[in-house]
Every structure is written in C-alpha cells, then in structure tokens.
Amino acid sequence: MTPPVPHNLPAEPNRFVGRGRDLIELSTLVHDERVVTLSGIGGIGKTRLSLRVAARAAPGFADGVWLVELARVADPALIVNEIAGVLGVRDEAPGRLLDGLRVRLREARALIVLDNCEHLVDRCAELVAGLIADCPELRFLLTSREPLHIPGELVWRVPPLELPDDHHPDAESVLLFVERALAAGARSVTGSMDDVVRLCRALDGLPLALELAAARTSLMSPGRIADRIGDRFTLLTRGDRTAPARQRTLLATVEWSHDLLRPKERVLLRRLSVFAGLFDLAVAERVCADGGIVRRAELLDLLSGLVDKSLVLHHDGRYRLLETIRQYAAERLAEAGELTRLRDRHLRVICEEMEFCYQAGALDPRMPWPARVPHFARGRALMDDCRAAVERAVESADPVLGLRLARAALAILAVRGELGETVGWHRRLLALDLSRVPSDVVAVAKGGLAYGLEICDELARAEELVVQGVEEQKRHPYTHWLGVTYSVALAVFFRTGQSEKALRYLEELEAAATAHDDPFNLATVRIAQLNLALFRGQLRQARRRGEEALALAREAGHHWTLARALTHLGAVAEAAGDLEAAVTCHTSALPLLEDMGNRVELARCQAKLGRVSARMHDYPAARLHLAASLALSTRTGQRRGVVRALMAMSALAGEQGDLEGAVLAAAAATALREAIGQYGVPGPVQELLTRARGGLGEGRVSLLWAKGARQSPEEVARRVLDPGQAVPAGGPRPVNGSWQSGLTGRELEIAALLTGGLSNRAIALKLVISPATVARHVANIMEKLGFASRAQIAVWATEHGLESHPT
C-alpha cells in the first residue's frame, strides 16, 4: 500500500455527472504535461472538473495535490501568499515567500491546482513559468477563462456537457439535470423527457445553467422553464449582445433565476457578494441585515432559500457563492448603489469580529489554553475577509478600523509565527493620512510594523518606530499592547548591542506589567532577563529567571509563552552542560508547538534536541530529531531553518567521528547561508575545518567542501543521517530498452528494418501491409520506448542486436 497523498481538496457537495473520457485523459495529461489550463466561460464547470481530475490523478503525486483558490485574491502580489498558505510555507522574512516556496517545491512531486486565474493572468504566468523552471517534478492544473500563454502550457478547452439527440437521449446534460432535479425534490421530471431534452438544448448543456434550472423544478415543470428561458434570450437586458452564445445563455439563466427571487432574497444575494470566501451566518447577519429591508431574524430563512435555489453553496455550517454568481451579485450590488456602504459595513464588522477573537483569546490574563484556542482558530478563518477589509480601509483612506483590525490580526497570527501579511497591512495603513487617528492606535501600529521589520533585519528603521511606539503609548493608560511593543524594542536593542537601553526598557516594562497584573508580559520580562544573564555567563541567574517565567506562563495559561519559557530554559541547561535537563525542557515544548501549529519554532526545537542528543551520544534520537527538523523547515520554506538543521547534522557527524559527513553538511549549510546573504564562516565551522584538515588532508577537505556546497540539503541529510547509504538508493536507473521493452513481434521486426534506413513505404512493401499500418507500429515503438524520432529506434535496434536481414 502506498501512503495516502496529502491534499486539501474539498469533499464534493453532490454527485459529479459525466465527462468520463475527459477525466481519464486529463488525469494522464496532468502527469505528462507540466502546465494544463482548463479554459472556458464561467459556469461551464472548470472548477468542478479540475477538482475531479486532481483527485483522480492524486496517487501519482507523493508530495500532494493542493488547491489554491484565487477568485478572492484581488491583488496579484498576494498570489504567492495564497499558494504559500495552502502549502504551509511560512514567511522567513516578510516579502521572501517566493524563496520559501522554491525551497518547499524544489524536489516535490506535487500538483498545484490554481483555480480562477483569469483576473491575475500576468502574474500567474510569471509565477508558474518561474516555478516549473526551478522545480522539475512540479505540475500545475489551472482553471481560467483566459490561458496564461506561457511556453509549454497545454490549453484544454472545457466543452459544455453533451446534448441529447435521437440516438443518445440520455446524454450527460440530461443526466445532470435529472439528478439535480430529483435531489431538489421534483417528482415528475422523468415523466416529461421531451421537455427535459428541449431544456437541456436551450441551456446549451452548460452545467451551471442546468443546476440553476433544476433547482426550480419543484415548483415549475421543465417545459415551462424551457419556455421562460427561451423568452429570456430575446429579452436579455444586461451584458454584451455580441458575446459568444454560451456566455449569453448562461447570463440569461442566471438572470432568470435571479429575477424569480423574492425581493428580500435579491437584496441578500447582492450583499453577500462582499464576502471574500466562506462566511458564517453570524457574520452574514451583522454585515447584510439592516433592520429595514432585511432583518436579522429572517436572514437564516432567506439564506436557506438561496441555498435551495443553488445560488449559494452550504457546507459544514459555512456558506459561499460560486464565483460566477458572486460576480453577477457584485454587479447588482453596484447597480443598487450599495457597494460602498456594504464594504464599509464589512470592514467594520470584520474589524470588530477580529477584535473580539483577540480579546476573547488573549485579554484575560489567566485563562486555560483550550479556552483560548477556538477564538484564535475563528480569527484565522476570517483572514480572507480581513484582506478585503484592509483593502477597503486603504481605498477609502480610513485607517482607524484598518489599524485596529491589523493589530488584532497580528496578535492572533503571532501564535503560529505568521506575521508576514500583517506587516504589509501596517505599512500601507500607516502610509495614509493619520491626522484623525487616535495616537495610541498609531503607536501600537508602529510597534506592529517594527515587529515585522525586526524579523527581516531592518533594525535601524525598526528601532526608530518602536521607540516612538513605546514613548507614545506610555502617555496613555497601560495596555497589553504596550508590553508587546516593549518586547519588540528589547529584541531590537539586544540585537544591536545596546544593553543600556535594553535594561532601562526592561525595568520600565517590569514595573508596568507588575503594577497592572499582566503575567503574559511579565513572563516576557523574565525571558529577556534570562537572555541577558545567559549572555553574561550568569547561568544560575538565568535559570532562576527561566523558572520564574515558566511559573508565570503556567499561571497565564498561554501556551505560546510556556513554550518560549521551556525552550529558553533548555538553552540555559545546555550551556550549563546539564544535557538531560535540556532534553526534558525541549521535549516538553514540542507538543505545545505542535498543537499551536507553529512549525517554524517546532523545527528550531527539533534541531536543538538533535544537537543535544548528539552531544549525549544518543545518535538514533539525534537522527530522528534532525530529520524531522529538516523536513519541517523544507515544508515551511525556511532556509534559515534548513541551515540550522544542516549545522546540527555537521555536529552530529563530528561527534560520531564521521569527519567527511561533518564537512559536507557544514559546506552545504555555508552555501545556503551565502544564498540568503549571510557571509563569513562561523567559528565552529572553522574549527571543524582545521580538525578535518588534520585528519583527512587539505586536498580531501577542499574536495568535500566543494561537493557539499553543490549538494541539496536532502542529499546531505541522506548521507549524514543514514551512513549506510553513501550512494543514492537504487543506483543509476536502467536506460529504457531491454528485452523487456514490451515490443510485440511485429514491432521488433519493424525496428530491425529501420536499422537499414527503410522508409515506411518500403517497409510496407516488404511486410505486405499498408504504409499507414507501418506508421502506426513506428508510433507504438516510439511511445513504448519513450523515443522522439525514428532515428533513435534504429540506434536502439542496432545496440540490441536487431539487424535487418536483406533478402
């Protein structure tokens, strides 16, 4: 049994009908071709087909099949974020996601499905072309109304479902209509098959049109629907009259279905178009109800009505609009003059929802972790809407709600170590006119931006902002945010060696957090004090601070702080040479980090465990931890993490007396460090090289260094973590073409004749068959042997002793 392929494909909402041969062919094509684009108008079924193909083709993609929905992405710069989010790649430093994606995908045999590319064609083309060039095993399946027009793209035009005719009354389109009509509770559909056939033809076999029509069959007969929709084509009020027929058919059907709605349902449908993706009833009520036309109490009924009419999809307690419907609804919203008002309301509601999630999950200083988790999860589920809301805040030059939203989002995302996107939000919002924004909101936002800048090493700018942030907030009553801003300042000061300033801020924060009973920020103080003591070599002092931090973290019930306290105590123990204690600390942090989904910190923790285990000569454990660390960093695209894992592998090899392995791993780590702009050879590597030169000789070490610098981290890991496998498993692959090539007798005969340079016609004469038959055999041989020309067959045949025997 092969292990199941990882994927994020949604469960199918109902039965998939038809397209049997297309599915078979496309599942093969997505393996053979690097980029397959399913093209066609909205509503023709591209998305549904792509999901089916992806699921069918999945067994060939060991590293997963990943659906990335782009319909809700408005800004081309965010496509990378969307892909990274799906693949679990984290921002190494804000703006470096694409590098992370390459790390993740370089050796991955994966299929990425980009759904709804049409509004982002240029950037998609650039990204897809770049990624396939860098990642040889990667494949893309796209859905788009327009092809990308990149070299090697196979454009596959999705046709409508087959229409019935006299020979095939049960064509695909009829089957789909009947299936959905029965599901909608229609009883008499099969009694009027002539009308069904007429309707399917009128709807041109377009799946979305068929679904919308079928959803009405509980109240209206197929014959009547066919008549009504027939009238529509002549009366089409909206849209381009010169548009292709299919597009007009679809628009007419959507319009027909829309116009049959009750007025309140119409209002709700258009208002729902402001949501970026999935939404739940509670948020829909807050954004779409207005107390006048649509009241909160009736919203569930109206929403269910839209679900029954197939205009809104419902799964797992959440709702969404199909992209084609969403666009139609958005046009109606603009037409009704409600667009601005609704987007403003959406911004306010999303801001308040995020603030609620933050407050519920983080504000209570003492709260058990399991009570916090659901609030953080709910906040993360609102990310798509947050993006749209921030967009609105920037557009309307109204930074207050946007900054409040960004502040709450930052706190929620920091738990998983995902700051990247909020840094961009802060940057854009702070660039607006801030004169009407309360100064404490601006001050917190400066701290938030500094947080992101510190991570991407822009320390001077970070310092400037964070000092402004702290000083301004000190003029206002104490908040949790002040503590967070202080801790960013501490990090900046430590990193720039300004211990005087750090100490002063440390004391201020300690006093403030103590006075305001804020165990979360007090724990931050203790951890900073631990770092300071560790730096000064005061190990006992450091341990005491760590234990205090641990006690505070337990009291606060915040696992993020708890994990930080544990890993810092582990570092102190390691420095003190108490390796057993170090292992205990790090091991206790693992499940906490895993539970939070903070895989970046998890990778770091695994690397430390690997290093400590190696020092304790527990090599099997060290190998397991380091393999886990490397895999986590690769999957999250963290090159610094990969460097860390490689350095620990070098140390492990050194402990085991495997100097060659140690040099290889150190070389690979150094090469990767240089790739991310960190130059110079660190002390431990220089020591290793000196030792290795003594043991192996100068020449051998330079050779190994050069080799390691060229190897991928995975290759080095295979060599170091599994010393029995110095040679890649399997050895060179047998070249195609052996006697087990699968050629038939006739094909072997023809291959032999090709060595004599005979033409198809000449071979045909010789074998008394037609030239077309010869050509078919030749094509079969090429396919079976994977050749690209007849000449290759001749060479192959000669090499295998097949000779033509002139008679």
Binding site: L78, G95, R96, V155
Partner: protein
C-alpha cells in the same frame, strides 16, 4: 539512401522527402496520442495545402484516427459549422479564424504545427525565477514616506 521527393510546396518551392515525411509524421503521431487521440477519433485538420497538411493527415491516420479536413478559406460561420459538425476533441490548426471558431465547439485541444512537430519549448530558467523575490509587499509604499 535516395532522396525520394514526395511533395513540392508550390509557394516556397521547398521539397519534402519521403524520409522527412516518415520522420515528421512519426513524431506527430506520438504527439497526437499524448493528447489523447485514439483509434476511431475524429481529428480536425485546418491547414493550408502544403507539407504540414500532409504530415498532419498521415499522423492522424497512423494514430488510428479519422481526418476531418476543413478548408482554411471558409468564412467564420462556415468554419464554425464544419467544426461543430465534426464533434472532434482535437483540432490541428494555426489559422486564427479556425481557432476562434473552435471556441463554441466541443474541441478540447488545439494543436499548432509546432506542437505537432514535437516542439515543446520549455524555459530552463527565466530571469525572474532565479533572482530573489523582494515582492513589493501588497503594493506597500516606501517606508521613508511614513
């Protein structure tokens, strides 16, 4: 081997030898099969009279398919009608009008002559893919402006 000539292009005077025809149609057959053409399938061929047309027709036959030729000089409506009538899944053409007419048909894949000849240009590296991505975060403005 003698250079047996099987076609002369009236426009350019270029000649197609039997060997070239055999070689090119063998490659084209494999390409057609890769795109799912099977025995009994109809394949539209809309190409000007010349060597490419001969190669395409030979390849379709060798793949076990049925050639459904469409004259290149038909008007849009005529093209559309012929294309729809074929019910074909694959069309071989470089003719813009035919490509457009195929939009409203059941043609899944359109193959150009280049693709038929097995040319599948692939970038080994592209400028933007090797340099690091300092993507402007969400169109963010310059920091100095803040």
């Amino acid at each position: 081997m003698d250079e047996h000539i099987v076609m002369v292009d009236a426009g350019t005077g270029l000649e197609l030898t039997e060997k070239q025809l055999d070689e090119r149609s063998a490659i084209a057959t494999v390409q057609l099969r890769r795109r799912g053409v099977r025995a009994g399938d109809t394949v539209l061929v809309c190409l000007p009279v010349g060597p490419d047309l001969l190669v395409a027709a030979d390849a379709v036959m060798a793949a076990g398919g049925v050639v459904w030729p469409v004259p290149v000089d038909l008007d849009r409506a005529g093209l559309g009608e012929r294309i729809r009538a074929s019910g074909a899944r694959v069309m071989i053409s470089d003719v813009p009008a035919a490509l457009e007419a195929a939009e409203e048909s059941r043609v899944r894949i359109v193959m150009s002559v280049a693709e038929l000849n097995g040319r599948h240009p692939y970038p080994n590296s592209r400028g933007q893919s090797t340099e690091s991505d300092r993507v402007d975060p969400a169109g963010g403005g310059d920091l100095a402006e803040m």
